[in-house]
């Protein structure tokens, strides 16, 4: 019997460990991919995943299927953990974040564009309405967990410009996705 991640997560909220194991099997590969994309090192991604599922176990009863999918709920926890770990890493090695950002320039520039072309739905349509450079900023920040400073180094623009661009992009995205009243 194949149960949806939503059903599984609701059962996990009741303390069901069998459902928890099933949920892990169904969702861990995707979350591993998400964490790896941000952290780039398997041992760090593993740390993020471990933290993610411990939290998912503790907070599963708060999951509301009316707001979104179980996968999105888990992905939000996972990204948060990965971003926290990435920030700690960057602080541990002073200046490492700049190096990381430089490394990324060649490796990921092209697939960032591919991803945009491949994504579908309302978010993709709204991202399409942003100017190219601002769209890149949002997508790469999200997928790679980059700070404003890292984005500034990557796109060779002042940090304040990154900040302004992110602000405008977020407000335009929200307007586009939620409608003018939102």
């Amino acid at each position: 019997m194949n149960r949806s991640p939503e059903t599984l997560l609701s059962s996990v909220g009741l303390g069901d460990r069998v459902a928890f194991a099933e949920l892990y099997r169904a969702t861990a590969p995707k979350l591993m991919g998400i964490a790896l994309r941000i952290l780039m090192r398997r041992e760090l991604a593993e740390e993020a995943l471990q933290e993610t599922y411990v939290r998912a176990w503790q907070k599963a009863s708060q999951f509301d299927p009316g707001l979104g999918s179980a996968m999105a709920w888990l992905a939000a926890i996972c990204r948060n953990q990965a971003i926290d770990i990435r920030r700690r890493q960057a602080e541990r090695i002073a200046g490492a974040s700049d190096v990381l950002a430089e490394d990324r320039t060649d490796a990921n520039e092209s697939d960032g564009i591919l991803e945009l072309a491949g994504s579908q739905g309302a978010l993709a349509a709204c991202l399409d309405q942003l100017p190219e450079n601002r769209r890149q900023l949002v997508v790469r920040a999200y997928l790679e967990g980059l700070t404003r400073e890292e984005l500034a180094a990557l796109y060779r623009m002042p940090v304040n410009t990154v900040k302004t661009n992110l602000r405008r992009s977020l407000l335009e995205l929200r307007r586009c996705l939620d409608g003018p009243s939102g």
Binding site: L14, D16, L31, G68, D84, Q120
Partner: protein, 241 residues
Amino acid sequence: MARPVSPEDREVLAGEYVLGTLDSGERAEAERLRDSDPDFANAIAAWGYRLDPLNASVASATPPEGLFQRIEQRLGETAGSPTPSSPTIIKLERRLRHWRAATLAMTAHAASLIGFILAAPREPIAHRFVAAVQQGDQQPVFVVAVDTAKGIIAVRPVAARAPESGRDYELWAVGGGRPRPQSLGLITIRDANLPVARLESDKAATIADTVFAVSLEPRGGSPTGQPTGPVLWTGKLVPVD
């Protein structure tokens, strides 16, 4: 960093928190705000769902061998409780597993009880469900009947004994979109087919995902609004028409 003042500032802070572009200090500030302000917490959750479609482009990767075992070990260390406030819910776990096996092969005995409880209504009814509330695959103790058309939840005692002196049985609805167990009130073993609660209309759609649980509580019911005593019996709804 200055505390965000305008609604737009707050919206951008929530959005940047989810994007991951804040530095450590700003992240900590956003988390403080999230923990103290439910509206801001909702704004963060909303951005999480808005931007989630971007994850569709990320390729899956094989998690490390043995990671799940390490996670389970961590859960053992944290006392195994899914929610700190409701340690009794863990006891539902085993019964829920029992239930799964039991429901599929529901006994003729339970089926006859269902006929009994639903004999009364005459007019055609859109959605009726019953749950045999029991321990494991033992004989049902209560039968819960739900009529989503009328919005009524009724309970019939079947083989229940009176609770020990100074205690009451309390009925709970768990899951089906409820963030926490919801009390449906106290149940007695004397009143047959007693409608115990109204079903909120917004819960009718997810009623099939609801688990009913009976816990033993101090006289008058749980003092906390959440199950405090042992969960004695559970049951899940099955449709009858």
